[in-house]
C-alpha cells in the first residue's frame, strides 16, 4: 500500500481506487469525473500521479478545488466527456455518479474511450436492505447509501451489481478488478449482489 502523506481521510471506495492506481502505475494520468472537493485528486497528486484532472458540476466545489491548486473544469458527465480525445488518460474515475447520469450506458462507453481503464463505483440497488424495503414496505427504499426520497433523489438510474456486470459484457468490455463494501469495509465477493452496499469495478476495453 502506497504512502499518502498529508492526504485527508478518503472515502473507502476512493481509497481503494487510489491504492489500485498507485499499485498499477506510479506516474499515471487520471481524470476524476465528479471530483467533488478534490479529495481523490489531491491524494493521487501526493502519490506521484503525473497528471490529474477533474470534472465537477457544482461551481462551489470547483472553486474549492481550484483553490487547492487542482485542475478542475466545471462540466457535466452527461455531455462533456465527448470533448476529450480517445485514450486521454490511463485511468478515469466515476465514483458514485453513474446512477445519476441520463444514460449510464453511454457514459460507460465514453469512460472506456477516454481512459484505458475506468473505475466505476455505485450504490448497489439489490442490497438486501433495499430489497427488503421494497418487498415488505412496498415503498421506494431509503437507506444509508440511498438516503433521499424517490421524488428528489439525484439517483435516477438505479443499478445492481448484476446489472453492471451485464452492461460491461454488453459493451464488450472486461472487468479487471472488483471491490464490494458494506458499512465502509471491504467484504468478500460471495453473494455480493445481496450483501454489497457499494460496488466498485475496474473495467477496460
Amino acid at each position: 500500500m502506497a504512502e499518502m502523506p498529508h492526504a485527508p481521510v478518503l472515502r473507502y471506495d476512493l481509497r481503494a481506487i487510489a491504492q489500485q492506481i498507485a499499485a498499477e502505475k506510479t506516474d499515471s494520468e487520471v481524470l476524476d469525473i465528479g471530483c467533488g472537493n478534490g479529495a481523490l485528486m489531491a491524494a493521487l497528486e501526493s502519490t506521484g500521479c503525473a497528471m490529474v484532472r477533474g470534472i465537477e458540476i457544482d461551481a462551489d466545489l470547483v472553486a474549492q478545488c481550484v483553490g487547492q491548486g487542482l485542475s478542475v473544469v466545471q462540466g457535466d458527465a452527461n455531455s462533456d466527456l465527448v470533448d476529450y480525445p480517445d485514450d486521454s488518460f490511463d485511468f478515469v474515475v466515476l465514483s458514485q455518479t453513474l446512477q445519476t447520469t441520463n444514460r449510464p450506458d453511454l457514459v460507460v462507453e465514453q469512460l472506456l474511450r477516454v481512459g484505458r481503464k475506468a473505475f466505476v463505483s455505485f450504490p448497489n440497488f439489490a442490497h438486501w436492505r433495499t430489497r427488503a424495503a421494497l418487498l415488505f414496505k412496498g415503498r421506494m427504499p431509503m437507506t444509508r447509501t440511498l438516503p433521499v426520497s424517490w421524488y428528489e433523489t439525484p439517483n435516477i438510474h438505479h443499478v445492481t451489481v448484476e446489472d453492471f456486470r451485464a452492461l460491461v459484457a454488453e459493451k464488450g468490455a472486461r472487468i479487471e478488478q472488483r471491490w464490494f463494501f458494506s458499512d465502509g469495509e471491504v467484504i468478500s465477493t460471495a453473494g455480493a449482489n445481496w450483501r454489497a452496499e457499494i460496488a466498485l469495478f475496474e473495467i477496460t476495453r
Binding site: 497528471m51 484532472r53 461551481a59 462551489d60 470547483v62 472553486a63 474549492q64 478545488c65 481550484v66 483553490g67 487547492q68 491548486g69 487542482l70 485542475s71 478542475v72 473544469v73 466545471q74 462540466g75 470533448d83 476529450y84 480525445p85 486521454s88
Partner: protein
C-alpha cells in the same frame, strides 16, 4: 505628453513590429507597479486591462480621482496580494493614458490621429513583452485579464508560451463574434458621424473632439456590459427625478439618465480615436485564425496552468466562449480549470464584488 499622469514611462528600445506589417517607431508604454519585485524576479504578475481600462488597476485614476478599476481584487491582503506579488499593469499601445496611441505625437511633431497604424491584440501584448524585457522579467508568476485583458492573456500564452506560469482569463473569448463586431461598429460609426470628429484630426481644433459620438458609443457598449435582469433590477421603468412622463425627449427614465451619465463621464477620460483603434483590434482578434484555424494548435505544448472564469449572465462573452477555449486546452492536455460563476450583473460582474471569484483567483495564484 501627459506628464500629469505621473505613470512610469518605458521607451521601447526598438521599433515595435506590428501584425499589419508596419512598425511603430519610438513608442512608449505607461505602466504602474504595486508591490515589490523579488530579487530573483519570480513574483511578477502582469494584469492586462480591458477596452477602456488603464494602468491604474489599484490606485486612483489621475483624471477622475476614482479608485483603481480593480482595487477590490488587487492590493495588500487582497486575492492578488501585493504583499507577495509584484503587480505590473501597463496601458496598452493605442490607448490614451500615456502609452503611444493616436493622440500621441508622430515623428513629425503632429498627433498621429488616423495616421496611427491599425494594431491588434497581439501587438498590444508585443508591447507588454517589450516592457517585461525592459524590467528584466523573463517569466511571470501569472498573467491575468478580464474581457480584452483576457484576450491579451490568451495571446501571451499562445504566442509567448514560456513567459507565464499561470494564465487567468475572466469573462473573455478567443475570438470576436459577429455580434461583438456589430456592437463595436455601431460605436465607431457614432464617433465618425460626429462632425467634431473631423476625420480624426480634432486635436488642434477648438472644442473637445467628438464628445457626442464617443458618448453614444459608450452608451451602446455599456448596455452590452450589463444583463437584462441587472438593468431591470437597477432601474426597471422608474422615472428620473419626476413623477410623470414629460412627453418629450429628456431622460425621463432612470436608465436613460444613467447611460447619458456613463457616456459623458467617459468622454472626460478617453480619446475617441483610441476607441476606434482598440475596438478594431478586438474585432480582429481570433487566436485560432492566427494559428492555422485550430484553437488547440495555438496552445500546443504549453506548460502553463490555465484558469478560465465566465459569468452566467454575460451575453457579451458568454460561457460557451470560455468552454470553447477549455475544450481546446483539454485537447492539448494543458492544465486547465474552468468555472462558470453566477452573478446578476452580466459582463461587468468581473469588476464587482464576488466571493467565489476572489476564492478562485487567490487559490489559482497560490496553487
Amino acid at each position: 505628453m501627459d506628464s500629469s499622469l505621473s505613470s512610469n514611462l518605458f521607451a521601447l528600445p526598438d521599433a515595435l513590429p506590428l501584425d499589419s506589417g508596419g512598425v511603430l517607431d519610438s513608442a512608449q508604454i505607461a505602466y504602474e507597479t504595486y508591490g515589490t519585485l523579488a530579487p530573483d524576479k519570480s513574483n511578477a504578475i502582469l494584469i492586462c486591462h480591458a477596452l477602456t481600462g488603464d494602468q491604474f488597476v489599484a490606485s486612483p485614476h489621475p483624471l477622475t480621482g476614482k479608485p483603481g478599476w480593480w482595487e477590490r481584487m488587487v492590493g495588500p491582503g487582497k486575492p492578488v496580494d501585493t504583499d507577495r506579488f509584484c503587480v505590473i499593469c501597463a496601458n496598452v499601445i493605442g490607448s490614451c493614458m500615456g502609452s503611444t496611441g493616436p493622440k500621441s505625437d508622430a515623428p513629425d511633431g503632429l498627433p498621429y490621429a488616423m495616421r496611427f497604424p491599425v494594431i491588434t491584440v497581439r501587438d498590444m501584448v508585443r508591447g507588454s513583452i517589450a516592457l517585461l524585457e525592459g524590467l528584466g522579467i523573463d517569466r511571470l508568476h501569472a498573467v491575468i485579464g478580464g474581457s480584452m485583458g483576457g484576450m491579451q492573456a490568451l495571446s501571451l500564452a499562445a504566442n509567448w508560451p514560456d513567459r507565464a506560469e499561470r494564465v487567468l482569463v475572466i469573462a473573455s473569448t478567443a475570438r470576436h463574434s459577429a455580434q461583438n463586431i456589430a456592437f463595436h461598429e455601431v460605436g465607431r460609426q457614432a464617433i465618425m458621424a460626429d462632425p467634431a470628429w473631423a476625420g480624426g484630426d480634432y486635436y488642434a481644433l477648438d472644442g473637445n473632439g467628438p464628445e457626442a459620438g464617443l458618448s453614444v458609443a459608450r452608451m451602446a457598449a455599456h448596455i452590452t456590459y450589463l444583463s437584462e435582469a441587472g438593468l431591470t433590477e437597477k432601474f426597471g421603468r422608474r422615472l428620473q427625478d419626476r413623477t410623470a412622463k414629460s412627453f418629450g425627449f429628456d431622460a425621463d427614465f432612470q436608465v436613460e439618465s444613467y447611460l447619458r451619465y456613463q457616456g459623458s463621464g467617459f468622454t472626460q477620460r478617453f480619446d475617441a480615436n483610441s476607441y476606434l483603434y482598440i475596438t478594431r483590434a478586438m474585432d480582429y482578434f481570433d487566436i485560432a485564425e492566427e494559428h492555422g484555424g485550430k484553437l488547440a494548435d495555438a496552445f500546443a505544448g504549453t506548460s502553463a496552468r490555465f484558469c478560465l472564469v465566465s459569468f452566467d449572465t454575460d451575453w457579451l462573452y458568454p460561457t460557451s466562449e470560455s468552454r470553447h477555449i477549455v475544450h481546446a486546452l483539454n485537447a492539448t492536455r494543458a492544465k486547465v480549470s474552468f468555472v462558470e460563476l453566477s452573478a446578476s450583473a452580466g459582463h461587468d460582474a468581473f469588476l464587482l464584488p464576488h466571493e467565489q471569484l476572489d476564492r478562485v483567483v487567490e487559490g489559482f495564484l497560490n496553487g
